[in-house]
């Protein structure tokens, strides 16, 4: 019981402090720019491009796809910077010097980004309804909320894996940016997955967001939670796989860094 309580405290404190540390420099204006205006601009750009390509009748395809894809802003960039921040700020040796439960510590880095990412997706949908006429009248909103939660979780799972890369490479932002744009292409946000070539379709099925975006589109078209349950389950499993892969890499990095004495190498 005491162990559980300690781990819960560690989880919460780690979560909160890493988030505060990451955003200590951030002013409300900068937050508004990156969480409200940037997603709106991205949604507008791809919706206009999509409607130019396929007609105004398909606008909702692009609005929904790009709104859900906003989860990647927090899920990829935020989580990666939280993990990598320990390296850049020199706190990694102290973390690895503690007996703290590594899994709790590791997952704690992503927790608030999941909430923050959900907020970003909701803001995206609000823009879609207010400015682009997205119709949510047939939508099971609690099920859409669950879809947003599961999708943001799975995207943050990929972010945890990318965050571990930031512990061993200097060019993680290059990789992050490339992954972010690759998700725009492969997740079905802008290009229907069934029109992709076979090998890209296969890759798409292994990525977070793909099933989440499909589930969101189905729910907004009037599907029930049970209709999209297989998609959500698949999205959850994908997220868990990425979290576990990331955790294995995190432990491997700790082991290597301690053996080689390269813990403080930046």
């Amino acid at each position: 019981m005491q162990k559980l309580s300690v781990n819960l405290r560690l989880f919460w404190q780690g979560t909160l402090l890493s988030y505060i540390a990451l955003f200590a420099w951030l002013r409300p204006v900068a937050y508004a720019a990156s969480k409200i205006v940037m997603p709106l601009a991205q949604i507008l750009f791809f919706t206009f491009l999509g409607t130019y390509a396929t007609g105004r009748g398909n606008a909702s395809f692009y609005i929904i796809g790009n709104s859900v894809q906003i989860a990647a802003v927090s899920g990829i960039y935020g989580v990666t910077m939280s993990i990598g921040g320990d390296r850049w700020n020199g706190t990694l040796p102290y973390l690895f010097g503690t007996p703290a439960n590594r899994l709790v510590m590791f997952i704690g880095r992503a927790f608030i980004h999941v909430i923050d990412g959900m907020l970003g997706v909701i803001i995206g949908f609000v823009w879609g309804v207010l400015l682009l006429g997205l119709d949510l009248s047939h939508t099971n909103l609690p099920a859409l909320g669950l879809t947003i939660l599961v999708t943001t979780f799975s995207t943050s799972g990929l972010g945890l894996l990318m965050g571990c890369l930031s512990l061993i490479t200097l060019n993680v932002m290059f990789i992050n940016n490339a992954v972010y744009f690759a998700l725009l292409i492969l997740s079905g946000a802008n290009i229907p997955v069934d029109t992709l070539p076979g090998w890209l379709r296969l890759l798409s099925q292994g990525l977070p967001l793909t099933r989440g975006i499909a589930a969101a589109r189905a729910l907004i078209a009037g599907a029930s939670l049970s209709d999209v349950a297989p998609l959500l389950l698949g999205e959850l499993v994908i997220g868990l796989v990425y979290v576990l892969l990331g955790y294995r890499m995190f432990r491997w990095f700790e082991h290597q860094a301690k053996q080689r004495g390269s813990l403080e190498t930046v």
Binding site: R27, V29, A30, A33, S34, V37, M38, A41, Q42, L44, F45, F48, L49, G50, T51, Y52, A53, T54, N171, M173, F174, N177, A178, F181, A182, L184, I185, N190, I191, T195
Partner: protein, 264 residues
Amino acid sequence: MLKSVWTSWRPVFTVAEMTLRQTVMDSFIIFTVLVQPLLIAVMALWMLRDKGSDIAVFVVVGSGMTGLWSSLLFVCGNSINVERWSGTLETLVGLPTPLEVIVFGKNLANVFQSLVSMVASYMLAAFLFGYPLHLAQPLLFGVSLVLTVLAFISFGLIVAPIFVMNPSVQQWQNAMEFPVYILSGFLFPIALLPGWTTPLSYLLPPYWAARALHATSSGGGSLQEVLFAWGMLLLFSLIDLLIASRLFKLMLVKARIDATLNME
């Protein structure tokens, strides 16, 4: 005559060469000027594939322009701040060569580097997607490209001191990328946008650059339209250079009075 021209332009070309050498392998710049425009080109070619093969050259030019704008925003926009971060700004300000001439050279290198994105998109569309590509009016396109480079360099000369003097404006940097893609009609006509946004497009040099480059590459515009876009590019370049000259003076006077040349 030639010698005197070379002497006055030598600092610009030297700075441009130094900047290219420094940034050619920078991963952020490679992403901004090469990878991101290529990914946007892939997406746009895929999304617009039902519009026929004529759309390919439009996408090549448009995605290349996204690289130009992103480079202007993130690289040219930080061209003074970068010197500040590396502790070389005081030395540059102390030189007899005016700081704006040095930043002009840096912007020349950055904008030139960004043109790579257009070449890369061209190769992608031609070889990976197999589109037959040709420029409808190569000579006019070449002139449009030169005027575009001038307009982007001049616009970059305004952005850099504004970012230095107003860090709160720079916090909007990430949010300024896509709006200009939209308002400038890089990848779709601005006629799709609500009417009230049109005057905003007219105020952006990238819009006139896109008009000139799209018209001359696809042959969709009359000579009069192209000439008008050139005129607007020249006008904006002139206005931007005048404003930039004032801004640089203001920035340096302020930095000297506040003794903040090396500070954020």
